[in-house]
C-alpha cells in the first residue's frame, strides 16, 4: 500500500495513459472531465455509502484532474484514470481516518438510498455490508464495468488480489441475499 500512495503522490499514473498527437485545450479538457461527473458520483456513492464523502471524492478527483491539465486524451483512459484516482482516494481516506478513530459501521455505511425495487434494496443493503476494499472491487468491476486489470490498478493491488476480492464479495453477497 505504501508503494501505491507514493506512486499516486508522484502523479506518475499519467505516464501509463495513452499519449496523443494533440493536447486538448483547457476548455476541451474541462468539458471532457465534466462528462464523467455523473459516473464518478455514482461510483463514489456506491463505494462510500455516504453522500457527503462521495461528493468530496468527486471534488478531489476533479481537483487532481485539473492539476493534471490536458495530459490524457483518450476518453476511456480518462475514465479509468479518474476512477483510479477516486477509488484510491476513497481507500486512502479510510486508512487515514482509521488511524485516529474507530468507525461505527452502522453510521459510516448508511446507504445513500434510492433503490427503486425491493431486490435492488436488498442488494444495495448487502453491498453496504461489504468491507470497503471488497466493495470497491465489486463496484469497479461488476457495476462500473472496469476490467479486472483496470480494477486492480484502481485499487492499487495485484490482479490476483482483485480476483480474490471479487470472489469473496460475490460469495458474501450471495450468502446474505440467500439469508433474506
Amino acid at each position: 500500500m505504501k508503494a501505491i500512495t507514493t506512486s499516486l503522490e508522484r502523479d506518475d499514473l499519467f505516464e501509463s495513459v495513452l499519449p496523443s498527437e494533440r493536447a486538448a485545450t483547457p476548455d476541451e479538457w474541462i468539458a471532457s472531465l465534466h462528462t464523467h461527473g455523473p459516473m464518478l458520483l455514482a461510483a463514489a456513492r456506491a463505494i462510500t455509502r455516504d453522500e457527503t464523502e462521495a461528493q468530496d471524492l468527486v471534488q478531489t478527483t476533479f481537483e487532481r484532474a485539473l492539476r493534471a491539465a490536458p495530459t490524457i486524451r483518450d476518453s476511456l483512459a480518462i475514465r479509468a484514470w479518474l476512477l483510479t484516482v477516486q477509488t484510491r482516494e476513497a481507500l486512502r481516506v479510510v486508512r487515514r481516518l482509521r488511524r485516529t478513530l474507530r468507525f461505527d459501521p452502522a453510521i459510516h455505511e448508511l446507504p445513500v438510498g434510492g433503490p427503486e425495487t425491493s431486490a435492488s434494496f436488498e442488494l444495495d443493503e448487502a453491498l453496504g455490508r461489504l468491507s470497503r476494499p471488497i466493495r470497491a472491487a465489486v463496484v469497479m468491476h461488476h457495476m462500473v464495468g472496469l476490467s479486472v486489470r483496470e480494477t486492480a490498478v484502481a485499487l492499487g493491488v495485484s490482479e490476483n488480489t482483485t480476483k480474490a476480492r471479487l470472489k469473496t464479495g460475490l460469495a458474501r453477497l450471495r450468502e446474505w441475499l440467500d439469508e433474506d
Binding site: P38, H141, M143, G145, L146, K167, R174
Partner: protein
C-alpha cells in the same frame, strides 16, 4: 461490462446482473443530481479560483491552466498557476532595461527587439533564455504555495492594473539561486506594469507550473514605494548582477501590436 471474470455460478451471474442494474439506477440519480453540484470545473470555466481549502489551492493551478496558458513548441504546457515570490534585502538599482514602444496596456511590446508576451498569450517558441512577459504586479493573498515562507508575500502578473488571480491574473514564481543574494523581487512594483524575463516550468510529471521570473527588465526601478516581504519594510528591487543592462529598444517593423503607440515608458522616481 467486461466478462473476463465473473465468478461462475448462476446465482452469482444473477447478482452481477443486478449489480449492473443497481449501478444503472445510481447513475440515473447521479445524472440528475450532478448538474446541481458545484465542482472545481465550474470555477475553472469561469476563471475563478477556489479559496479557503488547501486542496482547492491545488486546483487553482488547473484553473489557471484554463484561464491563461503559454504553449511552448514541443507540446509542453506552461501554466501560470501558483505563486512563489520573494523579496530580498534593499538597495539601489541600476537601470537594467528600457523600451520605447508601449502597448495600449502601458507595457512595452518589445525590448531590444524581443517580443514581450502578455498574460494569456501563447509563446510561439521555446527560446533559449526564456521569454519576456509583461503584466501588472499584484499580491496574492490566499494562494501562496505551500513551500513559501509565511512571511513572504506571493505575487502574480495581471493583464491590467487592478487585475488579480480572480480576474485573469497569473501567479509567478521567482528563480532563487543559492549564490544570488538579491533575487528579483516584485514587491517594489505592486500595481505597476513590469516586463520580466521568464522561463517555462513543468513539474516532474510533465504538468505545468507557474512561469519562473528570472529577472525584472522594465521598468528599471519602481515608481512608488516598494513593499518588503513582511509588508512593512522596503524590499530590494533587482540585483544588478541578475539583470544585465539591456540596450534601448527601437520599434521594429514586425511589431506584434500594430496599434501600439510610442508613448515613452514611465519615468523612474529613483535616481
Amino acid at each position: 461490462m467486461k466478462t473476463e471474470f465473473r465468478g461462475g455460478s448462476t446465482a452469482e451471474s444473477t447478482i452481477t446482473r443486478n449489480l449492473a442494474r443497481l449501478f444503472g439506477e445510481e447513475l440515473d440519480r447521479a445524472e440528475r443530481y450532478f448538474p446541481t453540484m458545484r465542482t472545481p470545473l465550474e470555477d475553472a470555466l469561469e476563471g475563478r479560483r477556489p479559496r479557503g481549502r488547501s486542496g482547492l489551492r491545488l486546483a487553482a493551478q488547473g484553473i489557471a491552466v484554463a484561464a491563461v496558458a503559454v504553449i511552448v513548441a514541443g507540446g509542453g504546457w506552461l501554466a501560470f498557476g501558483s505563486s512563489v515570490a520573494l523579496t530580498g534585502p534593499g538597495g539601489p538599482v541600476s537601470p537594467t532595461g528600457s523600451a520605447s514602444l508601449l502597448g495600449a496596456d502601458g507595457i512595452p511590446n518589445q525590448i531590444d527587439g524581443e517580443r514581450v508576451y502578455r498574460v494569456g498569450e501563447s509563446v510561439e517558441s521555446q527560446k533559449q533564455g526564456g521569454f519576456l512577459l509583461g503584466g501588472y504586479v499584484f499580491q496574492e493573498v490566499s494562494n501562496c504555495p505551500a513551500d513559501a515562507a509565511p512571511s513572504e508575500p506571493c505575487f502574480g502578473l495581471g493583464p491590467n492594473a487592478g487585475s488579480d488571480a480572480a480576474t485573469g491574473g497569473i501567479d509567478v514564481s521567482v528563480a532563487i539561486e543559492a549564490s544570488d543574494p538579491n533575487p528579483p523581487a516584485l514587491g517594489g512594483w505592486l500595481g505597476m506594469p513590469v516586463v520580466v524575463r521568464a522561463k517555462g516550468c513543468t513539474w516532474d510529471n510533465g504538468t505545468p507550473c507557474p512561469p519562473v521570473v528570472m529577472a525584472i527588465l522594465w521598468p528599471t526601478v519602481p515608481t512608488k514605494p516598494s513593499m518588503g516581504a513582511d509588508g512593512s519594510s522596503p524590499a530590494s528591487l533587482v540585483a544588478p548582477s541578475a539583470n544585465p543592462p539591456v540596450p534601448s529598444t527601437g520599434v521594429g517593423p514586425s511589431s506584434p501590436n500594430p496599434g501600439a503607440s510610442t508613448v515613452p515608458p514611465p519615468t523612474p522616481n529613483a535616481s
